[in-house]
């Protein structure tokens, strides 16, 4: 089973009777848009109880094509990493 955006909308709609289906959709979209905007601007995103999304700058480095063994240069890049919170880790490991 995979949780998708539609499932999040459904759950928000169910738990918040004051919202219409369209408003539930908007709220999930807005939540994601704000989260993305934070990371795109280079700012980390900390969702306490869930985890932290970090924006990290990686330096250029020499790598290899694992298929051919050819050496190549990997350009500098900026990436997003995720570190789960202790609460989330405990929740996943219980039972």
């Amino acid at each position: 089973m995979t949780l998708t955006k539609a499932d999040l909308v459904q759950q928000v709609y169910k738990k918040h009777p004051s919202l219409t289906k369209a408003q539930a959709t908007d709220s999930v979209e807005a939540f994601l848009a704000i989260s993305k905007a934070s990371l795109i601007s280079g700012e980390d995103l900390l969702l306490s109880g869930f985890g932290k999304f970090n924006v990290k700058d990686k330096k250029a480095r020499r790598g290899r094509n694992p298929q051919t063994g050819d050496e190549l240069t990997l350009a500098a890049r900026r990436v997003v990493t995720f570190k789960p919170s202790g609460i989330l880790r405990a929740k996943i490991n219980q039972g």
């Binding site: 089973m1 995979t2 949780l3 998708t4 955006k5 499932d7 999040l8 759950q11 928000v12 738990k15 918040h16 004051s18 919202l19 408003q23 908007d26 709220s27 999930v28 807005a30 939540f31 994601l32 848009a33 704000i34 989260s35 993305k36 934070s38 990371l39 795109i40 601007s41 280079g42 700012e43 980390d44 995103l45 900390l46 969702l47 306490s48 109880g49 869930f50 985890g51 999304f53 924006v55 700058d57 500098a76 890049r77 900026r78 990436v79 997003v80 990493t81 995720f82 789960p84 989330l88 880790r89 929740k91 996943i92 490991n93 219980q94």
Partner: protein
Amino acid sequence: MNKSELIEALAEKINVPIREAASITNTIIDTMSDALAKGESIEIRGFGSFVVKEYGSYTGRNPKTGEKIQVAPKKLPFFKVGKDLREKVDQNRKK
């Protein structure tokens, strides 16, 4: 950005009271945590996906003392950033 800043931005964006935005944010985060706790994966287009990886028990060492210890089996959530977000984060690298 932390959770309370995200809640404020959400309240403003969808025009609801802070309390309502906080409640919606918690619903979204709890829904994702619950899915991972059940071992399900999450797939949000444009943002990224989460999968739970299972590790068996192994013999590790305390790096400080060199002492052998048995590490219990565990599950950990992994995040893979989506294509759209990955590209946008990288584009903003040197600005």
